[in-house]
């Protein structure tokens, strides 16, 4: 076994332990450690991805050299490595882009805590991505919840505490249901390792025994993860949690945390239940319908919103709806589209959050649209970045959003019964997206704005501007040269089987 194969394990471990180290370091050092860890994990994932592309095969890594079915396992394929790399990039950029805001919003004494939470979050995300063991997945789901709660609550405003409590309750409900599902599954199959469960499930399906408990178990796990990733109608916790936390938290929560759960769901679909078996259940129809509803109702709520951060948060509900719609189609193409949308949405949504903070800064800290009038002139970089993000969300060609929509539509055309519903809702959703995003863009470029607010130039926001630039470039890369990425996703999904 090559040395590279240790990288997934190293990544999880260093991010977990650096969190602990951060607590005793002085603040500046903690920040440096945090950044270095994210970058190091990113580099390792990148190397791993190259290695896997070279070998073309996934590998299983025994923790402590105990063989299955007793030992704990890590598994890495192209999709896992790619996802880890992507998560690191987004996390690094979000942290860098929101760094200057951290000082205003979080008490000095809590800065170290912030870095600890981020490191813990990273380790749990990596574990969710890499693990081959259901119970390990559950444990890290909980760690993820706790660190996410901390990230919301660390900015101590009345609203965030309420938001964090809400998030806590909904999330625990979600992980509780997931645990129920897992228990039933363990009871039915006697295994916790994904590959072993899959074999047993296949046998069960063949023999026709315990069909109902099996479906119940799968459904419980799905619902649990749906709640945690804010699929409509379980999204009530989302707008406050994303809308009032510090900007880095909001960007990371919306683009990574919910995606981590979705990625786990994908793994469960492929590696635990089996893609074919999952598609034969009615669960995909439910996911499909909720996805469609989310696409419309998320956007409708966003239109009604008068607060830019909450508007972006509601738009996440719609975008999560797209992803579940892709699951609901029950085809390989739909899955590829969903995975691509995970990437595209993560890149776009964090861009929007980081750009929005630049706009509110030059509007006296207000997030109301009336105060944002003309903000695009006062902070040019943020204005351009917000516009780019909006265009991507609306699905203008050359941006990543267009490719997602194209992939979804292509997938929809192949599914007889769901074609029209998917395409029509995709259309409505596009138009609704356009309504609120373009309205905002026009608002920030209106000429009648209040001129008493200060203007910010490149000199005052070098890091912020560079981060925004990186995000825009990432979006355009996803939009222009999507084919290699789609190929990688297809290969990665093939490795799952």
């Amino acid at each position: 076994m090559d040395f590279v194969c240790n990288f997934p394990f190293f990544s999880i471990l260093i991010s977990l332990f650096s969190g602990t180290i951060c607590s005793v370091l002085p603040e500046k050092a903690a920040k440096a450690v945090n950044r270095i860890v994210i970058a190091a994990v990113g580099v390792m994932s990148g190397i791993l991805l190259l290695y896997l592309l070279g070998t073309g095969e996934s590998f299983v890594y025994w923790m402590g050299h105990f063989p299955a079915p007793w030992g704990n396992e890590i598994r890495a394929g192209i999709l896992e490595a790619g996802m880890a790399l992507f998560f690191c990039i987004i996390m690094y950029l979000s942290m860098a882009g929101g760094a200057h805001k951290l000082f205003d919003e979080v008490e000095e004494s809590k800065h170290n805590l912030y870095y600890i939470l981020i490191n813990l979050l990273l380790s749990s995300l990596l574990a969710l991505v890499y693990t081959n063991d259901m119970f390990t997945a559950y444990v890290f789901v909980e760690i993820n919840t706790i660190s996410a709660c901390g990230l919301i609550m660390i900015r101590q405003v009345g609203r965030t505490i309420e938001a964090a409590v809400r998030y806590m309750i909904m999330s625990l409900l979600g992980s509780g249901l997931f645990l129920f599902g897992l228990c039933i599954m363990y009871d039915l199959t006697g295994h916790l390792l994904m590959s072993n469960i899959k074999e047993s499930v296949a046998l069960l399906i063949q023999s026709g025994e315990y069909q109902i408990p099996l479906i119940v178990s799968v459904a419980l796990m799905c619902i649990g993860l749906c709640i945690k990733s804010a699929l409509f109608p379980f999204h009530a916790w989302l707008p406050d949690a994303y809308g009032y936390s510090t900007v880095s938290s909001a960007a990371i929560l919306s683009s990574l945390v919910s995606k981590g759960y979705i990625f786990l769901l994908i793994k469960i679909i492929y590696r635990v239940i089996g893609f074919e078996i999952f598609n034969n259940t009615r669960i995909i129809d439910v996911l499909f319908v909720f996805g469609l509803l989310g696409m419309i109702f998320g956007s409708l709520s966003a239109i009604k919103e008068n607060d830019i951060r909450r508007m972006i948060a509601y738009s996440s509900v719609a975008q999560i709806g797209y992803i579940y719609m892709g699951f609901g189609m029950g085809t390989q193409a739909g899955m590829v589209a969903s995975v691509f949308h995970i990437l595209s949405h993560a890149a776009t949504k964090s861009l929007l959050f980081i750009a929005a903070i630049g706009l509110t800064e030059v509007s006296g800290g207000s997030r109301k649209f009336i105060d944002l009038t003309g903000a695009g002139y006062r902070n040019k970089w943020a204005g351009v970045a917000f516009t780019a993000g909006s265009l991507s969300m609306v699905g203008v060609p050359l941006f990543s959003g267009f490719i997602s929509k194209l992939l979804f539509a292509q997938a929809a055309v192949q599914v007889e019964g769901k074609m029209l519903a998917a395409l029509i809702v995709l259309g409505i959703s596009t138009v609704l997206n356009a309504i609120y995003f373009m309205k905002t863009v026009i608002r920030i470029y209106a000429t009648t704005g209040d001129t008493s607010y200060p203007c910010i130039t490149f000199k005052d926001m070098k890091v912020h501007a560079i981060v925004l630039l990186f995000f825009i470039v990432l979006n355009i890369i996803l939009g222009v040269s999507s084919q290699p990425i789609v190929n990688m996703i297809e290969q990665g999904l093939a490795m799952f089987a």
Binding site: L391, V394, V396, P397, L398, I403, L406, A409, Q410, A412, V413, Q414, L423, G427, T430, V431, A434, I435, M438, K439, I442, Y445, A446, T447, T448, V480, S481, S482, Q483, V486
Partner: protein, 489 residues
């Protein structure tokens, strides 16, 4: 071969430079820069036209979707129109925009729209076309929003949403076409291999109709025409001229590309889609004229007239007969020059007198004789009185309509066109009559010579002359068109 990209990239980059440039430059410098850019782009377009029939694939958006460019006869026609109108309206703007603010932003987006339009003309497949179609909406939006008043913003939003709805309806169609066709490259005669009678074919007919409606939004076709009379008057006059003369023609271009180069005329001929399209086009022709007739504000009246005249072109396309098609294309040119010059005239009137309503303009012909003479000549052209451009195009449209295999529409079509021509006379000529013959009670002492600056009159005069030339020597164009129209139909 990469020369084909220059007329697209150069104005877009020049426009971006203007937008990014931090200070508001001195006026002379700004106009000089814009003027030079416009002329260079014009020259680049003309030189790119020598590359006809070669195609350039830039890169692949996905495995089977290339971004590619190709120049054919339709490209030549539309891009020449674009160049002429954009240079004329640009020159006009150098004077007109004095009384507007934020000129830098205006010229920046103006140049970008120019580049995007060139790209639309040169697009080699449906995806490339769609890409620039969206960009056209987005880059032309700031022109509508320019004045920044509440009215302009509402108009801009209306324009945006109508266009996006239309674009999505078309994208919806593209998804299905992508599924059913091997390629989306524009090919004369269409790329669809399906028979319209098969179940798939019946579904594709529906798709064709959705796409006609979708792209028809840009061309102001009923029932999605309402953005046009709101957006055109809200924009500054030179921008309205560009909108009305060229940008809405992008909708026409889109329909030509989709119907004749993707579906193929044979696929739609005689189907319910053709009937529905003809009906919508004729309804729009009549309704637009009627609304224009009742409209007191000059720029709005002209906008309604655009709605009506564009559907003349759409009627020509919907008949699917070579003569009607030629007539439609001729009308693209004639209407482009005429409406461009009409909007510039309206702008000149607003600029010198500040009056917007038709009934306030008594005696205007005595004050601005040259401008009003041009107005009269192009009005006659739009009505369709020989020897102006409008006559020839309408002649071909009527001939084609009569000869086309379109059932009862063979008679209804020409009749509606005639009635609409009468209405056109009814809404355009009163201004001439009042302008030159203000009546006995007109107080001649208040009269003052107010001919606008030469930079304003020259573009107007130039386009007026061109519109007459189209009428006097139509053979140059028809000879050029006939040969390739036969490959399409």
């Amino acid at each position: 071969m990469y020369l084909i990209l220059l007329p697209i990239l150069f104005p877009i980059l020049a426009g971006l430079c203007l937008l990014v440039y931090r200070k508001e430059p001195e006026r002379k410098l700004l106009t000089a820069f814009t003027g030079i850019c416009l002329v260079i782009t014009g020259a680049l377009v003309v030189s790119a036209l020598t590359l006809a029939r070669q195609s350039l694939t830039l890169f692949y958006l996905t495995r089977t979707l290339p971004i590619c460019f190709r120049i054919d006869e339709i490209s030549v026609l539309f891009s020449l129109l674009t160049v002429i109108v954009f240079i004329c309206a640009g020159l006009f703007a150098f004077v007109y925009m004095k009384h507007e603010q934020k000129e830098k932003r205006y010229y920046g987006f103006y140049l970008m729209v120019f580049g995007v339009l060139n790209a639309l003309c040169f697009a080699g497949n449906l995806i490339t076309f769609y890409l620039f179609f969206e960009l056209l909406t987005l880059s032309s939006l700031p022109l509508v929003l320019h004045t920044g008043t509440k009215e302009a913003i509402m108009a801009g939003l209306k324009y945006l949403f109508y266009s996006l709805c239309g674009a999505y309806a078309s994208l919806f169609g593209i998804y299905f076409l992508y599924h059913n066709c091997d390629t989306l490259t524009f090919t004369a005669g269409g790329v669809l291999q399906v028979s319209p009678a098969s179940p798939e074919g019946r579904f594709l007919l529906l798709i064709a109709f959705v796409m006609i409606l979708g792209f028809g939004v840009k061309a102001g076709m009923f029932p999605m025409h309402a953005w046009l009379p709101t957006a055109h008057p809200a924009a500054p006059a030179p921008a309205s001229a560009a909108l009305s003369a060229v940008i809405v023609k992008a909708g026409v271009l889109a329909l030509i590309r989709v119907i004749y180069y993707i579906f193929g005329a044979d696929f739609l001929r005689g189907s319910w889609v053709q009937t529905a399209w003809l009906t919508l086009a004729l309804v729009t022709v009549f309704m637009g004229s009627m609304l224009a007739y009742r409209e007191p504000v000059l720029k709005k009246r002209l906008a309604y007239s655009t709605v009506s005249q564009l559907s003349y072109i759409l009627f020509g396309l919907a008949v699917m007969h070579p003569d009607a098609f030629t007539g439609g294309l001729l009308h693209v040119l004639a209407h482009g020059f005429i409406k461009g010059s009409l909007f510039l005239i309206a702008g000149a009137i607003i600029y010198t007198t500040g009056k917007t309503k038709v009934h306030e303009l008594r005696g205007i012909g005595k004050e601005m004789p040259l401008t009003m003479w041009c107005y009269t000549i192009v009005s006659l052209g739009l009505i369709g009185i020989p020897p102006t451009g409008g006559f020839v195009s309408k002649w071909y449209l009527a001939i084609g309509g009569l000869a086309g295999d379109i059932g009862i529409f063979r008679y209804i079509g020409p009749i509606v066109l005639l009635i609409s021509a009468l209405l056109t006379a009814g809404y355009l000529l009163p201004l001439t009559i009042q302008g030159f013959f203000p009546g006995a009670d007109y107080d001649y002492n208040t009269l003052q010579k107010r001919e606008p600056a030469r930079l304003m009159t020259i573009p107007i005069l130039f386009m007026t002359i061109l519109s007459v030339i189209v009428g006097l020597f139509p053979n140059i164009i028809t000879d050029y068109l006939t040969e390739f129209v036969s490959t399409l139909l």
